[in-house]
Point group: C2
Chain length 583, copies 2
């Protein structure tokens, strides 16, 4: 059987940075050529970054993206890499523009171009456009209606983009076209356990199509999304051949023995399930035989580790891609801000992390000492600014009491953080967790301020688990565990009035998080949640809290999605909403 050395370029692209992304593509191709690869595949929309949202409509951006592909082809050729076949994802303009209201302005497509000998030899446009969960691709793209099969070294290679293999269709087309390899370009965001789902899918599609399948994914953070890499290759029996690391860039090089292209059946030349099959021959002769290398299969993070690393990467990239070099957060000594502090140190290094302790009259001694211990363990910088004189100045004028007085303290702290942010250029981090965000257990314009919210998709019970995981991971490596033990074990409190505990206002967190999982992540109605065995009064309380807190969530900063359904792109509900579940 003909041989093929395939390189999957798992890269960290930046949305809108056409020049920088082209440099990354070029560097990947140079490395692939140095490692004697025949074919390089780069991820979905790699030249533009992904998702670009409504930037898709901008004529200037579409034109620049198409130019970037041509420039990449020329530069590869000028560098003596014209022989290398390169498949790269980018934004383009539809070949046929539909005359239909609602066609996205300027008819953008989510495309993959095949580059060889200094030119684009063919282009595939994504056929299936996901428009659910975090995706809005019907809004942004025109759907392609052709399947592309490219003969490389005497092997037929079919192309698909991401959703195309989740839906039935193009892999069936690859089968019909009798391709030996299906390459799939992806911008597939992380969520817990998605790697397992991906491998199963790829194996199934490979078996269905009776062809090897190579899956290459982006890596890196983009606003709410974290692309986890996890690029992989399976053979035509669905067996895993090679797999790249999670959460870091990698050039995954794999040697494959693939069936030689055969003359396709006549009816396969034209149409299959509504898709026209278009064939391009780059090279019909097999490549010269060579000694294959052993493929690599990277080790996986465990279930907690992958979520922790997703958050670290999401934060690091949000900071770097938005031009910041340092972060600032309030450190109360509580578990949420302490975990965020540890994550920030992992993402940016301790010299770039600034904590501020703002004790009030109601702050316990352990609040201060626990925050100080975090600083000592991690090396982050901690400053202390008491709020009493400012609190008194407000109260002289306002004389607030009750909840208004509690919120005042949280807002004074926020003004201090934002002042320091404006003065010194730090990005402020919001430290709220998903359980708080769900129930509205936070002060808007108080502890909710910030440019990024690392743990907003982490339920409180998972906050504790991640803290323990992080300390255990340090232990395994003989390092100092960053998180003070007392911070993990003490009962949670907002410390906005004497003796206050979270459980004064909320059910115990293990119970709360179980109800939230049913109501928010699984979208069950109250009656269905109760049918799972929860107390009706608690369900009613939690559901009411969630429904009433939507206005706070709308003004909350973005943070990395790690669950099946995050607040933000995944769960979009009205603020004005009088629907209340009857019990």
């Amino acid at each position: 059987m003909p041989q093929l050395r395939l390189a999957l370029a798992q890269v960290n692209a930046r949305v809108g940075d056409l020049d920088g992304n082209a440099e990354i593509a070029l560097a990947s191709c140079r490395e692939a050529a140095a490692r004697d690869a025949h074919l390089v595949v780069l991820p979905e929309m790699m030249l533009t970054g992904y998702p670009i949202e409504d930037l898709a409509y901008r004529a200037s951006f579409i034109a620049a993206s198409q130019q970037a592909v041509d420039d990449l082809a020329s530069r590869l050729d000028a560098d003596g890499l014209g022989d290398l076949v390169v498949v790269v994802g980018h934004l383009a303009r539809a070949k046929h523009i539909p005359d239909k209201l609602g066609t996205p302005k300027n008819a953008p497509t989510n495309s993959a171009s095949v580059i060889h000998n200094g030119t684009v030899v063919t282009r595939y446009d994504k056929h299936h456009l996901p428009n659910y969960g975090v995706f809005d691709e019907f809004r942004h793209f025109v759907s392609g209606d052709e399947t592309q099969v490219v003969q490389i070294g005497g092997i037929d290679v079919a192309i698909a983009i991401c959703e195309d293999i989740w839906q039935d269709g193009p892999s069936a087309a690859a089968d019909a076209a009798e391709a030996g390899l299906l390459v799939v370009l992806n911008g597939s965001p992380f969520e817990a356990a998605k790697d397992d789902e991906r491998l199963d899918l790829c194996a199934r599609r490979a078996r269905d199509g009776d062809c090897a399948l190579a899956y290459v994914n982006l890596v890196g953070g983009q606003d709410e999304l974290v692309f986890d890499g996890d690029s992989l290759v399976v053979d035509s029996a669905g067996e895993l051949v090679a797999r790249a690391a999670q959460f870091e860039p990698e050039l995954l090089v794999v040697d494959l023995d693939l069936p030689a292209a055969t003359a396709p059946m006549p009816d396969h030349d034209t149409m299959f399930e509504g898709l026209r099959v278009e064939r391009t021959v780059v090279s019909a002769e097999p490549f010269a035989p060579y000694e294959p290398q052993e493929p690599t299969v990277a080790e996986r993070w465990d279930d907690l580790g992958e979520r922790y690393q997703a958050i670290v990467l999401g934060l690091r990239d949000y900071v770097a891609k938005n031009g910041f070099t340092s972060v600032l957060m309030g450190l109360s000594g509580g578990i949420d801000s302490t975990l965020v502090g540890a994550i920030a140190v992992d993402a940016l290094g301790p010299a770039h992390v600034f904590g501020v302790s703002n004790p009030s009259e109601w702050s316990s001694e352990h609040s201060r000492s626990d925050a100080a211990e975090l600083a000592e363990r991690t090396g982050l910088r901690l400053d202390t600014i008491p709020i009493a004189p400012i609190f008194d100045a407000y109260q002289e004028a306002l004389k607030l009491d009750g909840l208004a007085e509690e919120n005042l303290q949280a807002r004074i702290r926020a003004v201090i953080w934002m002042g320091l942010s404006n003065q010194h250029g730090h990005l402020v981090l919001a430290c709220g967790n998903k359980s708080e965000l769900a129930t509205g257990y936070s002060t808007i314009y108080g502890d909710a301020v910030g440019g990024y919210a690392p743990i907003k998709d982490v339920p409180k019970t998972l906050v504790w688990e991640l803290a323990r995981w992080r300390n255990a991971w340090a232990g395994e490596r003989g390092e100092m565990p960053p998180i003070p033990e007392n911070t993990i074990t003490k009962p949670p409190s907002a410390e906005l009035r004497p003796g206050q505990l979270d459980t004064d206002s909320l059910p115990p967190y293990d119970l709360l998080d179980a109800v939230l999982d049913a109501y928010v992540e699984r979208d069950l109605g109250s009656a269905e949640v109760i049918a799972e065995g929860f107390d009706a009064a608690i369900v009613e309380k939690v559901v009411t809290l969630v429904d009433k807190a939507e206005y706070k969530r709308r003004q909350y900063p973005p943070g990395p999605k790690i669950s099946k359904r995050n607040f933000g792109r995944d769960r979009r509900v009205p603020i004005t909403n009088l629907w209340r579940e009857d019990l």
Copy 2:
């Protein structure tokens, strides 16, 4: 020709309030019956409110909505209104559930049920699902594949829902089905001059289908959207017969002479352009002849008036539907907060509007006197709380300067407003305009705080125009113009440092707004904007400001859309975005 008395119920539904909306439907039907109507048509999704966003997935909500239709049918019959034919929009579940990844959970449909004699005699599911601009209907609904024709009083009546008549298709099906009347249920949000566009469309579809067309729209505010009503009827020649008021509920009753149903052509019975035509006979005999009434055509607001009234309605409904009774805003004496004050008084009455003046060291004398004059002219309540002692307490600890010091003042004010809001239950209004929001010329967690932002879709030049319009409108009615003349004529300033003017940081507003119109509303690239005759340096400055301010816009409160492209549902761009237009 057979006669038909048709009633279009332009009603203000509330999202999620099934019971309340059913009461509104029932009241409309009672009034229609009292006025001897044969057929009542209620708007799109009227029983659930619109848009319901991801509430569409909730099985309990779908079931409750379907139950609400059945209950409405029973109650109408019990009230002796069984003879009346009622068409009402609601959420339902697809009759055939597609087995396809990405099918919305629980297969919701955007449906219209026909009620007669206590039962639902047939149901139409919206066929064309808009997924552009403010709409996400591919995300939320399964598309219907049948056209419904219902014979009422010997007249064939076809049904369509909103987008169905904007796209080619179902009105053609109505034509093929030889209907005498097409009734269209709508949830069509306001934007400037949309009423003209709507009338043209309805006239064109009526002529195309050779049938009269009755268009009924929701009225009222729902988060960012304002439904303006503007229900109308055109005859088969496309001539306007009757039209309801803008921005208020109305039962529009119209007498029509319509062609008698004929036996349809055999090929029209089954399929037309992929849609199956389903026929239901409610009553084949013409109604007894009667003396028709003169139809009414409501007066239209002019171009400025309709935008002003849209904002008033949006604010009034956001406040009421979210359970508030009063609003609070900072009153600086500047034109933005003054216009918001006047709008709030129009929406809620002066007793429900609370202004706070927070003078600083840099506040001019006219700031205080202009705010006081607004209070005097409108009757709103004005309190004054100077910020100097609080500012000093912060600066004792922080020693900020420059922009950080300017922002500190804005944030101190915000904490005061939020404290008063928490203490007294007022909804805080953010007073920023669209030009500020576009350029980031505001302090996040400062003047940007609030639950609702009435003028966020109003460019600064339009702020002045609306202020003058409002004063002139008062003049026409012999009332006191609410807005002090000096507030309109003085140069705009944020007053955060001595002698500061907006033009220190921004181009003159007439120029700025023209560039923003090209870049934001029309989505042109920089080169295209410059090609329209603008100075390159100014375009580059404005474009850079807009691109960098996305993070602020994400945390800004919702406000009513009045333009073709608002910040929010209409314009969705990444925060992390390195695309910069080359010049």
